[in-house]
């Protein structure tokens, strides 16, 4: 519908919307995160939910203790190689539609522990990440910003057509390979369907 006509109608007390819009509006304002933290970043995540930063304003205050009831996984902290299979398994157990925010330097790349013998170089090697937040730790404002970015992403999703999101496509995967413990590293070390090393062009 034409924007001008719509606002004209609104002035007369007639609200119009589309199914897609109201569907996305409802989804984006009730994203429930999964209740878990992995390291120091989790403290910032907890602070975000408390009165000062008040994540409840965005409809995301209900941290669920079960992956079955959660829509959003906030990977807040260092993902060790020993923990990574569990994180992927939790992700697999979440029902679609589901989203991932990788919070902090550790979760996006390994951070200060990147070359450690037991630290995964970013959770995006195994599960698709929607929003990455840099910082060590990111401030609560940064998490809120990431959350708003995610909300925007949800609002822009088309419900039909080739660009429709994963949860509306029967052929798209909703579960990803859980890595196994190997001799020195996880096997496989990455999920090539999800993550490929970017081509680095050096000057």
């Amino acid at each position: 519908m034409d924007e001008g006509l719509r606002s004209e109608l609104q002035k007369q007390g007639i609200f119009t919307t589309t199914l897609g819009e109201i569907y996305n509006w409802g989804r984006k304002n009730s994203v429930w995160p999964l209740n878990f933290g992995l390291a120091c970043c989790a403290i910032e995540m907890i602070a975000t939910t408390m009165a000062r930063y008040d994540l409840a304003r965005f409809g995301a205050e209900v941290f669920r203790p079960s992956p079955r009831q959660a829509d959003l996984m906030i990977v807040a902290g260092t993902v060790t190689k020993k923990m990574a299979p569990q994180v992927v398994r939790l992700y697999n157990q979440m029902g679609e539609p589901k989203y991932v925010i990788a919070m902090g330097a550790c979760a996006i790349s390994g951070g200060p522990f990147k070359q450690g013998y037991n630290v995964l170089k970013g959770i995006d090697r195994y599960i698709p990440v929607d929003v990455h937040i840099p910082g060590c730790p990111p401030r609560p404002e940064a998490l809120i910003h990431a959350f708003m970015t995610l909300q925007q992403k949800i609002a822009e999703q088309q419900l039909t057509g080739a660009q429709r999101p994963r949860h509306l496509r029967a052929d798209a995967p909703s579960e990803f390979t859980v890595p196994e413990f190997g001799d020195h590293d996880l096997v496989p070390t990455k999920n090539p369907d999800v993550w490929q090393p970017q081509v680095l062009i050096r000057g």
């Binding site: 070359q115 013998y117 413990f181 070390t189 970017q198 680095l200």
Partner: protein, 211 residues
């Protein structure tokens, strides 16, 4: 608290046969430690805990150290006769020190509010004779920390109630904190490499370039 020398001399009287040695420390902290032989380590620990003067009832920290084989410099005193006069000369000699693993215990007394006394135990070598007596029966707080040393350095603590890996998964091979640990090559994506990482990333790239 008594000095380490006093503790050592009392210990030698209390536990005949215990081979004790004070390890000097030339760093600014000059915190010296007591090297104890494996056979008497348990008895020495028990004595340090139960001695009414010391009463070291709290083991705050246990850590491992990996000492690779190295060339050490030792000073040897020599008497030489120069022109009929006996003179004492000091000479530095290079000597090959064999590698070993070490467990270091930091002991405090909660009752007397003093400490630390630092104990060191050394294995005979880094490969097959890597056993040490566990001090968990003396200080229960050592349990997890000895497991950690077992996990990361590969020291086997005899008499430990539950010696399993604690940080790495069961089935992990080798001990990652050993200085000769060969890490898996996962340097495929290093956006900002420098120093050691840069070298490893280059090595990885060179390997990838090969057909």
């Amino acid at each position: 608290m008594e000095t380490l020398d006093q503790i050592k001399s009392r210990l030698t009287h209390a536990l005949l046969g215990a081979r004790l040695e004070i390890v000097p420390n030339e760093s600014p902290s000059s915190q010296r430690s007591l090297l104890v032989d494996s056979e008497h380590a348990r008895a020495v620990a028990q004595w340090l805990r139960d001695d009414p003067e010391l009463c070291l009832d709290y083991c705050s920290n246990v850590t491992g150290v990996d000492w690779l084989e190295a060339v050490g410099k030792t000073k040897i005193k020599k008497t030489v006769v120069v022109d009929g006069v006996e003179k004492e000369l000091e000479e530095t000699v290079d000597s090959l020190r064999s590698g070993y693993l070490e467990a270091v215990y930091h002991l405090f007394s909660m009752a007397k509010k003093h400490g630390p006394v630092i104990l060191r135990l050394r294995t005979e070598n880094r490969t097959d004779k890597n056993h040490l007596p566990s001090l968990t029966p003396v200080w229960h707080g050592c349990e997890f920390q000895e497991r950690e040393i077992f996990d990361l350095y590969g020291v086997v603590f005899d008499g430990h109630p539950d010696l399993r890996r604690i940080l790495m998964w069961d089935g992990f091979k080798d001990h990652p904190m050993r200085k000769d640990y060969v890490e898996p090559d996962d340097y495929e994506y290093e956006p900002t490499p420098h120093d050691a990482v840069l070298e490893k990333a280059k090595k990885h790239q060179a390997q990838e370039a090969k057909p």
